[in-house]
């Protein structure tokens, strides 16, 4: 784009300069050609005028003029005082000719120029009266050599133009190639390739830009490292006191209090885990996903199938009927594979935790609309009647409520939500919607 603009600019300026030079040049060439033709005619007319004085014999004069006309492209005629014309009658209307003759007879020598040609008129005063010598030059003679000269000039102009555009293109490439390289480096940085650095070349400004980009990349690396360090520090600062709390709580022997403390601390630990994981997320995303633009995604059907396979062994051992229904095609959900695994695990774990052995459950994944995937986990356990469903959704006993909190947060982060209701078979139905990952419109390098 930049190259094309530079080439267009140079083409415009060069053509203006060339035209400003060539047009006066062309006019000058034409004037010179006319002047040369008229000068030749004038010389011939004066030569004949000299002869007319010396030669009085009409026949001799006629032969002489015939000889002259044969040799030159011009035609010369002599009008004797008595009105007799010797030689070729010059072109022009009778009126204009009569006017020219009367002007010459008055003793004036002059040149007539018109579109069809030019005529040099010379009077010769003799003893018998005034003889008028007229030499006519045709239009073709006037413009002889002009066309060739013009073509040469135009050719020269075209050659100059081509040369200028080619030179501009090469110059443009020298300017634009380093800029394109910089853009490519910026794209690689954006894609998470933080080691990408610009090669410093090209014009001074581009070199400065490249150096600035490299410094920016260094800074991004430093910031990410600082962020990782901060997350690690956060992990240390939060987990150390929680550990001390847990160790002390384990020393409590009173059964009711110990259980409550255990539950509270387990909740606290999971919350700290979630906070630390959240704090690490940006660095993990940016570094891990080199192709997608900040948005992580996974094949939801394959992740759900893997997790259900994993749980199926326990389902068989507990004589639970497990129904699985998945889309046949790969479906990209806008969620990290690890997060989706956590979601499926939390939902299935919830079923195992809150329903007796032998209770059937079903896992299904469907494409609800072009934007949303729907993951459903339904069980046939007891519960709807005694409002267990509602409490199961929010209970903190054994951290199942926190498990659903994880699901809810993950669903919201993936552009969906979690709904917990009663299932048709009387148990609990958890419906999680997840955004479908849209194709990343990658910017291609031109």
């Amino acid at each position: 784009m930049m190259r094309r603009r530079i080439a267009a600019l140079v083409a415009a300026t060069t053509s203006a300069v060339i035209l400003a030079f060539l047009i006066p040049m062309g006019m000058l060439v034409r004037t010179l050609a006319e002047d040369r033709a008229v000068a030749g005619a004038s010389q011939e007319a004066r030569g004949v005028a000299t002869l007319v004085v010396g030669v009085s014999d009409v026949v001799e004069l006629t032969d002489l003029l015939g000889l002259l006309d044969e040799r030159s492209p011009r035609s010369t005629s002599v009008l004797l005082p008595g009105g007799r014309l010797i030689g070729t009658d010059p072109p022009g209307s009778p009126e204009s000719k009569a006017k020219a003759v009367s002007r010459a007879r008055a003793g004036e020598a002059f040149t007539l120029r018109g579109d069809e040609g030019a005529q040099v008129v010379v009077p010769v005063v003799t003893g018998r009266g005034t003889v008028v010598v007229r030499t006519a030059v045709s239009g073709g003679d006037l413009r002889q050599g002009v066309t060739a000269a013009w073509l040469t000039l135009m050719g020269l102009g075209v050659v100059l133009m081509v040369f200028a555009v080619v030179a501009a293109d090469r110059l443009g490439r020298r300017v634009s190639a380093p800029v394109s390289d910089l853009a490519a480096v910026a794209q690689r940085l954006r894609a998470g390739e933080l080691e990408a650095r610009a090669v410093l070349r090209g014009p001074v400004e581009t070199v400065e830009l490249g150096a600035a980009l490299n410094r920016l990349a260094e800074r991004i690396g430093e910031l990410l490292a600082a962020e990782r360090e901060a997350a690690a520090d956060l992990s240390h600062r939060l987990r150390t006191p929680v550990t001390a709390l847990r160790l002390d709580a384990e020393a409590v022997t009173e059964p009711g209090v110990a259980d409550r403390l255990h539950d509270h601390i387990a909740h606290l630990e999971r919350t700290v885990d979630a906070i630390v994981k959240e704090a690490r997320r940006p660095a993990r995303r940016t570094l891990g996903q080199s192709s997608a633009a900040g948005q992580s995604s996974c094949d939801a059907a394959s992740v759900v199938r893997d997790r259900v396979d994993f749980w199926s062994a326990l389902a068989v051992d507990q004589r639970r009927d497990l129904t699985v229904s998945l889309p046949s095609a790969a479906t990209q959900a806008a969620i990290d594979a690890t997060d989706l695994q956590d979601v499926v695990d939390a939902l299935v774990d919830n079923v195992f935790a809150h329903t007796p052995d032998g209770t059937a459950f079903a896992v299904s994944l469907t494409v609800r609309d072009p934007q949303l995937l729907q993951l459903e986990v339904a069980d046939a356990g007891p519960g709807a009647a005694d409002s267990d469903v509602a409490t199961r959704g929010h209970s903190t006993a054994h951290s199942s409520g926190l498990g659903l909190d994880i699901v809810r947060r993950a669903a919201i982060a993936a552009g969906g939500e979690l709904l917990v209701t009663g299932s048709p078979s009387g148990g609990m139905l958890a419906v999680v919607t997840l955004g479908i990952a849209q194709d990343d419109h990658r910017i291609t390098q031109g």
């Binding site: 550990t243 255990h262 601390i265």
Partner: protein
């Protein structure tokens, strides 16, 4: 124990003392090194985040002069840090937050390994052979393909044959998790293990669930005892 956090130091000291261990604790890397050299312990618990020296440096210095088993305590749960600690000569690690059961499980495992070379040999329970060195499992002479966690779980059970091991102990030992809520994780892996050993929960041979308590690995009744 070299640990700078006073709360953790006193809690571990008290809990391990209750479990019958003798604990000497310090909050500085240098004084910890001196203690370990002057009065060589059976095992060292080393926190990586120390105020005077980096825990990894303390580890390297200790390794230069002693073969005492070292269990690293860290708040960082990224693999790179663990690998670095293990590379520098740590024998095992626990990640904060942890419970005393987890520390105890690590202590026992490390002491078992350092106790005698024979302890590293294959463990045999009936027709079941578990080799911790080659991570190979054979049932009646036939090799069984197990996942990493399944193997660790079987190994943890095989190290205490005929003993009921609680799920919390297994979580602490195999999963290094201190808190509840992960019992089903143990259950699922036990189910897979049963499936691969060719048995079911309803018709157990080697893996016997004790409802509400835990699980026990024992040779089938008809067979010979593993010892």
């Amino acid at each position: 124990m070299i640990e700078d956090d006073g709360g953790i130091r006193s809690a571990i000291t008290r809990a391990l003392t209750d479990l019958g261990h003798t604990v000497t604790a310090t909050d500085r890397g240098m004084s910890g090194l001196e203690l370990a050299l002057d009065n060589p312990p059976d095992v060292v618990l080393l926190d990586l985040g120390l105020p005077d020296l980096d825990g990894l440096e303390v580890l390297a210095m200790l390794r230069a002069v002693s073969n005492v088993p070292v269990i690293v305590i860290t708040a960082r749960d990224d693999d790179a840090d663990m690998v670095r600690a293990l590379d520098r000569g740590a024998d095992d690690y626990v990640v904060k937050p942890f419970g005393i059961e987890q520390v105890d499980a690590r202590l026992r495992a490390v002491l078992r390994r350092s106790g005698s070379a024979a302890a590293e040999g294959p463990l045999v329970v009936g027709g079941l052979m578990v080799d911790p060195r080659t991570r190979e499992v054979r049932l009646d002479g036939l090799a069984i393909d197990l996942s990493r966690k399944e193997f660790d779980l079987l190994l943890a059970l095989a190290q205490r044959p005929r003993e009921v091991v609680t799920k919390r102990e297994l979580l602490a030992d195999v999963w290094r998790q201190s808190y509840g809520g992960g019992e089903r994780t143990v259950d699922v892996h036990l189910s897979w293990l049963r499936r691969k050993l060719g048995e079911t929960a309803a018709d157990p041979r080697y893996l016997h669930s004790v409802r509400g308590v835990g699980v026990r690995l024992a040779a089938p009744d008809n067979g010979l005892d593993g010892h």
